[in-house]
């Protein structure tokens, strides 16, 4: 417990500090499995992929990251804290009445959070509109969405997967964090569900930072891109 509170200054926070930042929210070193499954993907995105910082959080040309799977957001809050979007002092009150940090994130309460999520199957459909809006306004900026493999159960995602593929929305990337939590699974693999709709697809180890960064930065002209990040079952 005392170790958990001893967090270095904001400008020097790195990947190794994330468990202690999460501990500030959970009160001990144990935390939700859902938070854990997304930790590496979130870190790689904010550390190596996304062109966005606290200073450019309102820049119309910034990259947008949409956490569609809003469950277990402690990893997200920890990464946003490490990157200076959220003050460390905010973390211990996680989930309390006046805290901006709830068990599902709210974009109106936290600078840098692009969507309020919690109900599954909203992020990817919103991302399509965001990509189309940026395109219509000739803006720069990629749109990257994180969904869970079980979240793909929601039919709204399949409306979105089909349309984005047909439209060839190449500024759109989806990361599916696959901890095999979907009750009925995806025979043939998750990547195949996207490929048949015209997406570029890669499946990588969701704990391998180098592989994640490479897959998330590969050019895919004329096609949206899906990266399936496989992590341990039940993580």
């Amino acid at each position: 417990m005392t170790d958990a509170i001893a967090v270095p200054q904001r400008d020097s926070l790195g990947y190794d500090d994330l468990p202690r930042l999460i501990a500030l929210m959970t009160g001990d070193e144990k935390h939700s499995t859902s938070a854990d499954s997304t930790l590496d993907v979130l870190w790689v995105l904010y550390d190596r992929v996304l062109k966005v910082s606290p200073d450019t959080a309102d820049d119309p040309d910034r990259d947008r990251f949409l956490l569609s799977k809003g469950h277990g957001p402690m990893s997200y809050y920890a990464v946003l804290t490490a990157k200076g979007f959220i003050p460390i002092e905010t973390l211990p009150a996680f989930g309390t009445y006046d805290s901006p940090l709830g068990h599902h994130p709210d974009r109106m309460l936290i600078p840098g959070v692009e969507i309020s999520s919690g109900s599954l199957g909203h992020g990817l459909p919103i991302a399509i509109g965001l990509a189309l809006g940026l395109q219509a306004q000739e803006r720069l900026g990629r749109v990257i969405v994180l969904v869970g493999d079980a979240e793909l159960d929601e039919g709204s995602n399949h409306e979105a997967i089909a349309l984005a593929g047909r439209m060839g929305l190449d500024r759109l990337t989806v990361v599916v964090v696959d901890n095999r939590s979907a009750t009925y699974g995806w025979p043939g693999g998750i990547a195949g569900r996207f490929e048949i709709e015209g997406w570029a697809a890669a499946t990588v180890d969701g704990r391998d930072h180098g592989a994640l960064a490479a897959a998330l930065t590969t050019e895919h002209r004329g096609q949206p891109n899906v990266v399936v990040a496989e992590v341990e079952k039940g993580a």
Partner: protein, 302 residues
């Protein structure tokens, strides 16, 4: 009566004015789910990036409007009433006001314009549903000219606006101001609030009574100030072209410290398994002139 006496329907006017606005306002975008595409054929050739057809995917239609708004644009989403409001209701709830962004939702079909298509194409519940959410402005125009004025007003703003178009219309437009009831006439026996396309039939049905008639082309926020200010009698009558009693709580709220009695007329809550014409459905719900005259007369004698 109130049949479509004007050459251009509300829907025609919506498509024409929106197409003009797309030329003027680079922030404006239209999101469709197949329905309504024909009206935007020419505009779509000029603005392919700003008229988006998502296919028959109504949840996606609302979410795409949300995303476009998040990118800084002003989206209009348009479809048949049940497919615009009811089918994607969670997207309407979570992807717009909850995200802190706004869109203009424009429906066609009203409660039962598609009377011969049956229940699947009818949505008298729409205003009650949207009215359950915070921060929505809801317009129920009664004439294509009012559609044009309300559309300009909606597009110029940033909030969430619902514009409910109908095939039934009044023969003449009213000099409306968005958000306010218009005083059509003043009397002392009762205050009648007629919403949108019900105005002319309500005026005909109450011609022999000394009543105030207020015309509502905006129902949310509900203009309780005008109702309170113009009240001359405890008798209040609501005539709404959608679910009966939808605005009753707002009458009650406006008159919370004033003894009053209220007659709510509107589409009745029932599985109404009939086809036929909208006029026949008006009769079934007591929204035709003869039924209005009868029910209002009874209420005033009571």
């Amino acid at each position: 009566m109130t049949a479509t006496a004007t050459a251009e329907t509300m829907r025609d006017r919506f498509a024409r004015v929106t197409s003009e606005l797309l030329d003027e306002d680079p922030r404006l975008a239209v999101v469709l789910a197949e329905i309504g595409l024909a009206g935007f054929a020419r505009a779509r050739r000029r603005h392919p990036d700003r008229i988006i057809n998502v296919g028959i995917r109504e949840q996606l239609m609302i979410s795409v409007a949300s995303g476009m708004a998040l990118s800084g644009m002003r989206p209009i989403a348009h479809s048949y009433t049940p497919f615009l409001i009811e089918r994607p209701f969670e997207q309407v709830k979570l992807d717009l006001a909850h995200q802190g962004v706004g869109a203009v939702l424009v429906s066609v079909g009203a409660s039962y314009d598609a009377s011969d298509s049956g229940r699947t194409h009818q949505a008298p519940e729409d205003v009650a549903l949207l009215g359950s959410l915070p921060d929505w402005q809801i317009h129920v125009p009664g004439h294509p000219d009012e559609v044009e004025l309300l559309l300009h007003d909606a597009v110029a703003g940033d909030g969430n606006v619902y514009l409910r178009l109908a095939a039934q219309a009044n023969a003449r437009p009213m000099p409306i101001e968005p958000g306010r009831f218009h005083i059509v006439r003043l009397g002392s026996a009762a205050t009648v609030i007629a919403v949108g396309p019900t105005l002319e039939r309500t005026l005909e049905a109450t011609a022999d009574h000394d009543v105030t008639v207020l015309y509502a082309s905006t129902v949310r926020p509900f203009d309780g100030d005008t109702l309170r200010t113009e009240l001359r009698s405890p008798a209040v009558i609501l005539v709404e072209p959608y679910l009966q009693g939808t605005s009753a709580m707002w009458v009650s709220e406006a008159l919370r410290d004033t003894p009053h009695r209220l007659l709510s007329i509107g589409v009745r809550r029932m599985e109404h398994r009939h086809y036929g014409t909208p006029e026949q459905h008006d009769e079934a719900h007591c929204l035709d002139v003869a039924s209005l005259r009868h029910r209002i007369g009874q209420f005033l004698e009571a």
